[in-house]
C-alpha cells in the first residue's frame, strides 16, 4: 500500500477529484494548506505599503492505494492538476505500514 500526497492549485481541486473518481479511487482526504515552492509568494499593497505574502494557498490531497494502482492515480492527478504554469504543485508517494478501517476493523487491502 502506498500513500499518495499531492499539493495542487485550489481551483484544480474539482478537476482532480473527478479524475480520481474516474480512476476508481474510493476516498480522498483534502486539506487547505499554505506554502511556497519555486512559485514563491506575491506582493499586496495596502495604503501604499507593500506586504510580501510568502505563503500561497494550496490544496493537499491524501490518498491510500494498492501498489498496482499507484501509477494510474498519479497519472490522473498529474493530468488533471496541470496548467503548465509555475505553481502547479507536487505529487509524492510513500509507503504505508498498516491501514485499518475503524468501523469494521478490516486491515490491509480490504481497508483501502
Amino acid at each position: 500500500m502506498k500513500l499518495i500526497t499531492a499539493i495542487v492549485k485550489p481551483f484544480k481541486l474539482d478537476d482532480v477529484k473527478d479524475a480520481l473518481k474516474a480512476a476508481g479511487v474510493q476516498g480522498i482526504t483534502v486539506s487547505e494548506v499554505r506554502g511556497f515552492g519555486r512559485q514563491g509568494g506575491h506582493t499586496e499593497t495596502y495604503r501604499g505599503a507593500e506586504y510580501k505574502i510568502d505563503f500561497v494557498p494550496k490544496v493537499r490531497l491524501e490518498i491510500v492505494v494498492d501498489d498496482q494502482d499507484v501509477d494510474g492515480v498519479v497519472a490522473a492527478i498529474k493530468a488533471a492538476a496541470s496548467t503548465g504554469k509555475i505553481g502547479d504543485g507536487k505529487i509524492w508517494v510513500t509507503g504505508v505500514d498498516r491501514i485499518i478501517r475503524i468501523r469494521t476493523g478490516e486491515e490491509g487491502h480490504d481497508a483501502v
Binding site: 487547505e32 499586496e44 499593497t45 495596502y46 495604503r47 501604499g48 505599503a49 506586504y51 505574502i53
Partner: protein
Amino acid sequence: MESGNIAWVLISSALVLFMTPGLAFFYGGMDRNRNVLNMLMMNFYCVLIIPILWVAVGYSLSQTPFDNDFIGGFDSFFLKDITVAGDGMSLAVVAFLGMFAAITPALISGAVADRMKFSAWAIFVPVWSLLVYVPVFKWVYGGWLADRGSIDFAGGTAIHVNAGIAALAAVMVLGKRKSAPTPPHSMPLVMIGTGILWFGWFGFNAGSALAANGAAAQAFMNTFLAAAAAGLAWILIEWLRDGHPTNLGAASGIVSGLVAITPAAGYVSGASPIFIGLIAGVICCYAVRLKHKFGYDDALDVVGVHFVGGLVGSLLIGFFANPSFFDGAFMEGIFYGGGAKLLLEQAIANGAAIVWSFVLTYGIMVALKKTIGVRVSEESEAGGLDLAEHGETAYHGAQ
C-alpha cells in the same frame, strides 16, 4: 415643525450610535486576526462607559452654563433641570451629543491597536473624555473659539482633529508593536464597517443642524458627495501609483472624505463638497505614509485619516464657507468674498485643540504608564490580545 425637528434629532442620534460598531468593524477588519475582538471591545467599551459619564457630568461640563468660555459647570449634573417640557428638544440634544462623546475616544483605538492593555484603555477613555474632549468641545461649541468666529459644523476640530492628534500622542508614549504590521485580516469586514460609517455619518452631519431643515438637507448632500469624491480620488491615485484600485483605498478615501466634510457640512454648498472630498482624498492618501517616514506606529492610520482629514476640512472652510446660501451668521470664505479672517480663525481653533489635546493626552498616557502600565506583556502581544485580554477567540480552527 417642532415634532419634525425632534424626530430628526432622535433618528440622527441612533444613526451616530451605529457608527461606533461601524468603526469597530472598519478597524477590526484591518487588524490582525488574533486581535480583532480586542479592537471591537475597545470600541464597544466606549458606548458602555461614555453614556453614563456623559449624563453624570460630561454634558454639563461641556455645555452648561452656555455662556462659559472655557468649561461648563455642574448645573446639569445627572441632567438636573433638563425636562421633557415643551418639545423635549433639550433632552434629545443631550442624547445626540452623547453619541458624539462616545465615538470620539473610540477613534483613538485604531492607533493603539495590537499592544495596549485593556485595563489602561478602560481608564484612558473616561479620563480622556473629561480632560480633553469635554473642554475642547466647550471651546468649539459656545466657548472662546466659537466667540472668536471659528466654525465647526459637526466636529472636525472638536472630534477628528482632537482624537487624531491624541492618537499620535498616545502611540508616542505606548511605543511600537513588537512584530511587523500585517495586511488586513478581513477586507470584507472593513467594507461592512465603511458602509455602516457612511450611513451613520448622515446622522452625524445632517443631524448637527439640530433641525429638519434646509441646512440639514445640504449637510446630507455634502456628506454624500465629499465621501464619494474622496473615495474616487484615493483609488485613482492607487491605480496610477501602485497599479491597482484597492478596497482598502476606497474605504480609506470614503472615511477621509467624511471626516473632511464634517466641519464644513452646514457651511458649504454646490460643487464645494466635491472639491473638499477630492482634496482630502489626495492629501490623506499621502498622509497615511508619513508614519513610515517619521517612525510612529499609528497602527490603523488614525493620524493620517482623522487628524489630517479633519484639519484639511476645517481649514478648507476658510475658502469655501458660503453664508449667503444658508442665510447664516458666519464669516465668508476666501472664495465667497471674505478675506483670510475665517481661515485664520480656523487655524487658531485647530491650533488650540491640537496643543491641548496633544499635551493632555501625552500626560494621561505617561501617568498610566507609570502606574498600571499601558502595554500588554510581550507574551500576550505575540499570542494575541483576544485570548490574553478577553479570554475569547474570533476564529476557531486552523488559520
